[in-house]
C-alpha cells in the first residue's frame, strides 16, 4: 500500500533548511530529493506506489513485470518494510530472489529520480553506487546468467612498509586485492559471502534513503543467523567502503563511540541543546559528530589524550583535575582509538569555523610499551588497516607526553610502583620489532624518539604502565604540570 510517511520524509530534507555538512550523505539525499522535484511525473509516481511499480522504465520493464506477481510485498516502497524477516528464514537460493525484487523498486525509483543523468549519479553518491550494483545483479538475473557476480576490493596490509612513516595518506595501500564473489559460486562459503555483501548493501541503502544511521552492531543484529560473527560484518562493511572509495561514515554506518571526554568545552547539538563536558565528573561519551553543530572551545588551552580509562578516571577524580579542568579537555578512547573518537579529537584540535578556530596543543599519555606507542601512532598518523580513511582522522601535531624512559625510575623502591613495571612478553617483543621495522631511520625528532623508545624497551625488557604514576604521591601531578605548563 502507499506509504505516505515516506514522501514527507523525503521532502523534509528539502524544506528543513538545516545546515548540511559538506559531502554528507544527507546532502546527496537532498540532491536526490531535489531531482525528484524537477520531474512532475516522477512525483506522482512516488506518491502512488502502485503506479510506480506498474510503470517500470528502461531495463526494469520485464523484470518488474515478471516478479510483480511473485510476492505480495512487492508493492511496498523502500526497503525498510520489505521481506526481511522472510529472507532470513529462507534458504540461500531463495534469498537471492526477493532481493532483486526489492531492488527493482529502488532501481525504479532511482531511475525516476535520476533519469536525466543516470551515469553521473552513480559516480557521485553512495546510494547510486549501491543501486548500480543491484542493477547489475538484476540484469544478470534477467539475462538468466548462471552466476551473479560482485567485485569487492579487499584492503590488504602493505607488505613491508619500511622507512615509511607517517603513513602516507595520499598514496593507496601498496596492494589492493580485487576479489570476485560469485553466486552460487564454487563453494557454499562463497554463496554465503555473496549474500552477506548484498545484505549489507541493502541495509546501508535503506539507511541512506531514510537518513538514519546504523551502527555495525545494528547491522549484525538485523540478521545474526546470516552474519554469524560481528567480526564478519565489521570486515565487509570496511571492504565495501573501501571498494566504493568512501569513508565508512558515508555508508551511514558508524561504530558506537566508546571514547570519554571531560573538560572545558560546550557542545552545541543539532537539536538545539548545549552540553557542558565538565558537568559530569565521570566524563561523557564522545558524541557522534553528525549530531554536533559546533563546539565552544574558548577556555581550552590544551588537550590531553589518555590511553586507559582507569587513568582517565583517576585523573578526573583528583583534586588536581579540579584545578586545571577549566583550562583544558581530557579524552580517552579506552585503548586503541575508534573512528568516532579520532574524528572528535581532530575536530577539537583542528582550526575550523565549527570549533571557533581553536587549535590547542594535544598531548598523549600512554604506557611505556609497544601498544602505547602504537596507540599514539594511530592518533597521529592513522591506522594501516583503515588507511583509506586516515586523512580526516589523524592529528599529526600530537605530542608524546609520557610515559617515557625517564619516568621508569619514578617509583624508586616503592612496592606499588614496582607493580607498574613488568617484563615484556614475547608478543610485546615481536610487536616492538615489527614497529621498529616500520620506523623511519631519518625524520624529525618525534619519529626518532619513538624509534629510540622502542629500542630502549627491548633493551630493558621492561615496560611501565601508567599505574606507576598513581603509586607515587604527586607522580601524575608533576608529570602533567611539567608539560601542561600550568600553575
Amino acid at each position: 500500500m502507499v506509504t505516505v510517511e515516506y514522501d514527507y520524509k523525503d521532502f523534509d530534507d528539502l524544506l528543513a533548511g538545516v545546515e548540511l555538512l559538506k559531502d554528507s550523505s544527507q546532502e546527496s539525499l537532498t540532491n536526490a530529493a531535489a531531482d525528484i522535484d524537477l520531474h512532475d511525473d516522477d512525483n506522482d509516481c512516488l506518491m502512488h506506489g502502485e503506479i510506480c511499480s506498474s510503470t517500470p522504465k528502461e531495463t526494469d520493464n520485464l523484470l518488474s513485470d515478471e516478479l510483480m506477481d511473485a510476492s505480495p510485498s512487492f508493492h511496498k516502497l523502500g526497503l525498510s518494510q520489505l521481506p526481511l524477516p522472510d529472507v532470513s528464514r529462507e534458504t540461500e537460493d531463495e534469498r537471492s530472489a526477493p532481493l532483486p525484487q526489492a531492488v527493482s523498486d529502488t532501481t525504479a525509483n532511482a531511475s525516476h529520480s535520476s533519469s536525466s543523468e543516470p551515469s553521473n549519479r552513480s559516480s557521485m553518491s553512495v546510494t547510486g553506487k549501491i543501486e548500480a550494483v543491484f542493477e547489475e545483479i538484476a540484469d544478470a538475473l534477467l539475462q538468466e546468467k548462471n552466476e551473479l557476480t560482485l567485485t569487492l576490493l579487499r584492503r590488504t596490509r602493505p607488505q613491508k612498509v619500511s622507512a615509511m612513516s607517517p603513513i602516507e595518506t595520499n598514496k593507496p595501500p601498496q596492494s589492493v586485492v580485487s576479489k570476485r564473489i560469485c553466486f552460487p559460486g564454487k563453494t557454499a562459503e562463497e554463496a554465503w559471502r555473496f549474500t552477506v555483501v548484498v545484505r549489507i548493501l541493502e541495509l546501508t541503502h535503506e539507511a541512506l534513503r531514510n537518513g538514519t544511521v546504523l551502527s555495525k552492531r545494528d547491522i549484525y543484529y538485523r540478521d545474526p543467523a546470516l552474519f554469524g560473527k560481528q567480526a564478519h560484518v565489521d570486515r565487509y562493511v570496511d571492504d565495501i567502503a573501501f571498494t566504493f572509495g568512501v569513508q565508512r561514515s558515508k555508508l551511514n554506518v558508524t561504530a558506537v563511540a566508546k571514547g570519554l571526554i571531560s573538560g572545558a568545552i560546550n557542545i552545541c547539538r543539532r537539536d538545539g541543546s548545549i552540553v557542558e563536558a565538565s558537568s559530569d565528573r565521570e566524563g561523557m561519551l564522545v558524541p557522534s559528530l553528525r549530531d554536533v553543530l559546533s563546539i565552544n572551545m574558548t577556555a581550552v588551552r590544551w588537550i590531553l589524550v589518555v590511553e586507559k580509562e582507569a587513568t582517565f578516571r583517576s585523573i578526573a577524580a583528583s583534586t588536581f583535575w579540579d584545578m586545571i579542568s577549566a583550562q583544558g579537555v581530557m579524552l580517552t578512547a579506552k585503548g586503541y582509538p575508534d573512528i568516532a573518537s579520532r574524528a572528535f579529537l581532530r575536530w577539537l584540535s583542528t582550526s575550523s569555523p565549527r570549533n571557533g578556530f581553536a587549535s590547542p596543543p594535544v598531548y598523549g599519555l600512554v604506557d611505556f610499551d609497544p601498544d602505547g606507542l602504537a596507540i599514539l601512532s594511530i592518533y597521529k598518523h592513522g591506522s594501516i588497516r583503515l588507511a583509506h580513511e586516515n586523512a580526516d582522522l589523524c592529528v599529526p601535531q600530537m605530542q608524546w607526553l609520557g610515559l617515557r624512559r625517564e619516568h621508569m625510575m619514578i617509583g624508586g623502591d616503592d612496592l606499588h610502583a614496582s607493580q607498574g613495571l613488568l617484563s615484556l612478553t614475547a608478543r610485546d617483543r615481536r610487536k616492538a620489532v615489527k614497529m621498529l621495522e616500520r620506523c623511519a631511520t631519518q625524520g624529525n625528532d618525534a619519529e626518532l624518539q619513538v624509534r629510540a623508545a622502542l629500542q630502549d624497551m627491548l633493551m630493558l625488557n621492561t615496560k611501565a604502565e601508567l599505574q606507576l604514576l598513581d603509586a607515587v604521591p604527586d607522580g601524575m601531578t608533576r608529570l602533567l604540570m611539567s608539560k601542561l605548563g600550568i600553575l
Binding site: 625510575m409 621495522e437 624509534r451 627491548l458 633493551m459 625488557n461
Partner: protein, 337 residues
C-alpha cells in the same frame, strides 16, 4: 683513599637520538653498537698524554664504519680478548662475526651465525666471545645459552650451512639478559630477567652453580680476569661477587641509586667499573669493598661501560662510558706524572 679520574675526551653523536647500547674494546679498536644501523669502530692505539700534534689531540679517531649491517640497530657487541675477532647482534635477531685483517687495521665480515634449527635455538640476545674468539655464547629470549663455533659461520648470504653449535645450556626459561665466557674458557655464566644467575662448566657441559641473591633482573655478569670471581648486578642496585669454584657469595657492594646496567673488571682485577641507569659510573675497589670514584657525564642512562685494555703506551688506566644520547666519554686516571 679515593681515585681521581678525569674526563679526557668526549665524542658526541653525530646522529641525533641514537643511543649507544654496547661497547667492545680490543687492544687496537673500540666497537660501538648503537640504535643506528651502522657499527662504528674507533682506533684506540695512538694514545699520548701530552699532545704533540693535532692528530694526537684526538686519540680516538673513527677508523671504520660497518655500514648498515643491522637495519634495526645493534644491541650487543663483544670482542675476543686477543683482539682478533668481534661479534655483533641486532634487534632483528641477526648475529654477525667480524675479524681483523692481517695488518691489524681493518675489520671485515667473517659471516653470520645461522642456527641449524631456529626454533630450537631460540632468539639470541646477549653475546660473549671466548678469549681467542673461537666460541660465541649467546643467551636467548627464553633463557637458553647456545655456544657456537665461530669458524663455521655462513659467509655468503645464500650459504645454507648452519653454524655448528658446541653446547646448549637450558635454564628455567627466563629471558637471558647477560652472558659471559671466562678467559680460561672453562666456564659460561648467564644472568636472567627473574634474577637468577647460572655458571656452567664448559668441559662437562653441565650446570655448575645456580647463584642466588639478586631477585631482580640481572643485567650484567662478568668473570674476573683470573676467573676466580663472578660479578653480577642489575635492577637490585647491588653488585654481588661470587666465588666461581664454590658458588658462594663473597661480597656485595651497595651504593648505586638506580639500576646497574653494565659492569667491567679492570686488567688486574682490583677494580670494578659499573654504569647505572641514572648516568653515574662508579668504580669499586674489590679489596676494600667500597666505592672509590663516581663520575657523572649526564643524567642519561649509561648502557655500557668498559675499561680500555692496558697497553704499553698507556700509563694510566682509561675507561669509556656510553649510553642514551650517543656520547662516548673517555676518562683517565689522574695521577702524578
Amino acid at each position: 683513599m679515593s681515585k681521581q679520574y678525569l674526563q679526557t675526551h668526549t665524542l658526541a653523536s653525530t646522529q641525533p637520538a641514537a643511543d649507544i647500547f654496547s661497547l667492545a674494546p680490543t687492544p687496537t679498536h673500540l666497537f660501538v653498537g648503537s640504535g643506528s644501523s651502522s657499527i662504528k669502530i674507533y682506533s684506540t692505539k695512538g694514545q699520548v698524554i701530552h699532545a704533540d700534534t693535532a692528530a694526537d689531540e684526538h686519540p680516538y679517531p673513527l677508523a671504520q664504519t660497518l655500514e648498515k649491517v643491522h637495519p634495526l640497530g645493534a644491541h650487543h657487541v663483544c670482542s675476543s680478548q686477543d683482539g682478533k675477532v668481534a661479534a655483533s647482534a641486532g634487534f632483528g635477531g641477526e648475529l654477525k662475526i667480524w675479524e681483523i685483517s692481517e695488518d691489524g687495521t681493518s675489520w671485515s665480515a667473517r659471516g653470520d651465525v645461522v642456527p641449524q634449527d631456529k626454533k630450537k635455538a631460540g632468539e639470541s640476545w646477549a653475546i660473549a666471545l671466548s678469549e681467542d674468539g673461537k666460541y660465541l655464547a649467546a643467551a636467548t629470549h627464553d633463557g637458553r645459552i647456545n655456544v657456537y663455533d665461530t669458524t663455521t659461520t655462513a659467509s655468503a648470504a645464500d650459504d645454507k650451512t648452519a653454524t655448528q653449535r658446541i653446547a646448549q645450556y637450558e635454564t628455567k626459561g627466563s629471558f637471558g639478559l647477560s652472558v659471559d665466557l671466562s678467559s680460561n674458557g672453562a666456564m659460561t655464566a648467564s644472568g636472567h630477567q627473574n634474577g637468577s644467575i647460572y655458571i656452567f662448566n664448559n668441559s662437562t657441559q653441565r650446570l655448575a652453580h645456580s647463584l642466588t641473591g639478586l631477585l631482580k633482573p640481572v643485567r650484567a655478569v662478568r668473570f674476573s680476569p683470573a676467573c676466580k670471581f663472578l660479578a653480577a648486578a642489575g635492577d637490585a642496585r647491588i653488585i654481588a661477587l661470587y666465588d666461581t669454584l664454590s658458588g658462594e657469595q663473597v661480597a656485595n657492594f651497595s651504593g648505586h641509586a638506580s639500576w646497574v646496567m653494565s659492569l667491567d673488571w679492570n686488567w688486574s682485577g682490583e677494580f670494578l667499573l659499573c654504569g647505572g641507569y641514572d648516568g653515574k659510573a662508579k668504580i669499586w675497589s674489590v679489596e676494600r669493598k667500597e666505592c672509590v670514584a663516581t663520575q657523572t657525564e649526564s643524567e642519561k642512562c649509561l648502557w655500557s661501560v668498559r675499561w680500555l685494555p692496558k697497553s704499553a703506551s698507556m700509563r694510566n688506566e682509561t675507561f669509556v662510558t656510553a649510553g642514551a644520547g650517543g656520547t662516548l666519554a673517555f676518562y683517565r686516571e689522574a695521577s702524578g706524572t
